[in-house]
Symmetry: D2
């Protein structure tokens, strides 16, 4: 059976939960569009996060990998367009590493573009009533690090994963309740969005050409 690996990340920056894992774990062992979903939690640690992702890919042998992370302060389900080859940590990770301006893969390309049909996903989500957008930056912390690590693996000729990318999600309401003013999205809405994303990504061979760019 076709397999899809979906990952969340452990809590960081003093949060008790990470919404990515709270939602991703609910997908575990589900079947969607004829594929089995396998879920894993990655550590919020530079280096170890990519190691854990690679081990999961080796074990699961998925045809698609979708990594999900928390973007506290963002208001919608945001599909990342690009990962860049740099770690620049505003805060220490969960093992107290704080790399500044270090490459993720020495000698690797400066960036990788998402290997998901990002426009088709955003379009499909909006048509289903879910707030979504393309994001032009995944930051420079562990999320971007994981996305870069994933896409670097996909870029290797031997890699059998054919699609993959990264999605940032808002705080859950229970987190936003402690960050006055911060937007949130419910577990239910994010779960719907993730299921749709997986289905769309599995079925789309050619991405739509619709503008989702930013003037700056």
């Amino acid at each position: 059976m076709r397999k899809v690996l979906v990952t969340g990340i452990e809590p960081f920056e003093g949060e008790k939960i990470n919404p990515s894992w709270e939602v991703v774990k609910l997908l575990g062992d589900m079947e969607l569009s004829g594929a089995k979903i396998v879920v894993r939690q990655l550590p919020c640690v530079f280096g170890k996060a990519i190691d854990a992702l690679n081990a999961a890919i080796d074990e699961v042998q998925p045809e698609m990998v979708i990594c999900v992370g928390q973007a506290g302060g963002r208001s919608d389900f945001s599909i990342e367009r690009v990962a860049i080859n740099i770690n620049d940590a505003r805060i220490p990770d969960n093992e107290n590493n704080q790399p500044v301006d270090e490459t993720i893969v020495a000698g690797g390309p400066a960036a990788y573009f998402s290997a998901l049909p990002i426009k088709t996903i955003v379009n499909g989500l909006r048509e289903s009533g879910i707030p979504a957008s393309v994001s032009q930056t995944a930051g420079t912390y562990v999320c971007n690090h994981i996305m870069y690590g994933l896409l670097h693996r996909l870029a290797q000729p031997s890699c059998k994963v054919v699609k993959g990318g990264f999605i940032h999600i808002p705080y859950l309401p229970e987190q936003a309740a402690r960050h006055p003013g911060a937007p949130s999205m419910s577990v239910h809405t994010v779960l719907n969005a993730l299921e749709l994303t997986i289905a769309i990504a599995l079925h789309t061979e050619q991405d739509l050409r619709i503008a989702e760019g930013a003037t700056h």
Copy 2:
């Protein structure tokens, strides 16, 4: 049986729905904390909105009235502190009225403070994991107009309604899907928040003294 009147507003500014009514209507005929909930939709029309509210109060004879409206762009469940005696419409209402700097009640006081335990409500919602805050302005459009009309009635010695106020809620996800970047809150979260608000308001005699102010 004790009665609580809860109102939503009809859609405006080109929206197909108004989240206030989408949620409020789900409360219809519910019993909460020993009170029967009666719901009504108010028109988004200056003057007629207050007339409809007054007619509903006459008919229902509630002990508490909670009016709910849409605040597209806000991210949380926001409890209004104060209504001011002015209409200043940035956009025309649903019957094409656009009053500018007109009083709501000629000779009425400049403002009324909410007759709800706003701090206790915000505190209770946050403890239940729902993003909530006290808002220092309900604007100058139909929502503020309704809140002022309600509190003006409560201020009359003959009025038997003892508690009342106004709550602004974010777009629903299906609305935010058409307003890229706008925060949203699910029907389920807002419904939970409203039920809690009603229960807390019914049971609270003395509001908490906790800071929820703004420096500007």
Copy 3:
């Protein structure tokens, strides 16, 4: 000679400067539109701020009073529409008072509307290329407190001050440099805006009726 009293406030919340005083002090002893400008700095202390304002009015005998304060995070020159009769301090003032939900003037009205031609000012500033807007809330801290105190005095039949109100201004650039992401406005732009405001306010007898309201 006609006199105009313009006040700034001392620094608070850990800032080394308050942009309101940095700009207001530059107006000292200037003549504008045939009026002499007298400037004073008010303490960021509940109660004492109003006492100092009243003493300055007694001494200067101005025909107009414009009070200015800092609104860190706002992006434009914002003319306050209304002051409300409540102190609700998110942070302690400079003498460590932190009133919560206390009235400013016992038995005073719930609110006072600005006694400045706020629409004419906003319109004139924009036409001069200065970002400006009407604000529907002055908060619940010392700025709102001062504005309420000023307008309460103007409301007394014996008061000879005929115009007055409150204006919030952004951080200066040097402050925003330490608050990443915060908007700022230069001393020069704020000074221009204040001079124009004074001139417009002195010459305007009837405010414009142009929409500057908010839907929420």
Copy 4:
């Protein structure tokens, strides 16, 4: 004499001015840190903007090139970290081209990192009281296009330009006056910031390693 080429862009999206050119043109023929500043305005047109930039480099033979563009809605002087190899135009350019998901340089790398000491510049500006930050995305419009084109040229072994990058600046106050709520920065502040940037960039051989990253 050492030469520095500084470029602005012509107005777009209905604006009458582009703040980048309004400020950059003031630097023309100035001498800064022993270098002569040469300024040019680039068209807001995909393709032609890079052609004009290349022609200016050929003519001027600068050792450093700093390109500046407008970021309406941003609040500070923002130094771009990276340009990506994609055009995705939310709005048509000034010759009505609207490329969607097209590469800038076929076969070029996915991204280039700025060839300016971005951390040293941000640090120096803040110490001088100017709001500044590192930006993790230059968007996907003409600004990113120009930045990519510049860095692609710098990446060629034959290129004698040794430093270069892109800076986004806020609206000028006169623009923000027509976009209520938008932050702005005065010509004077931006000019100071640009002069400092040039001086710092000319004198810095090794960038500082200080965190300026984003978690998302």
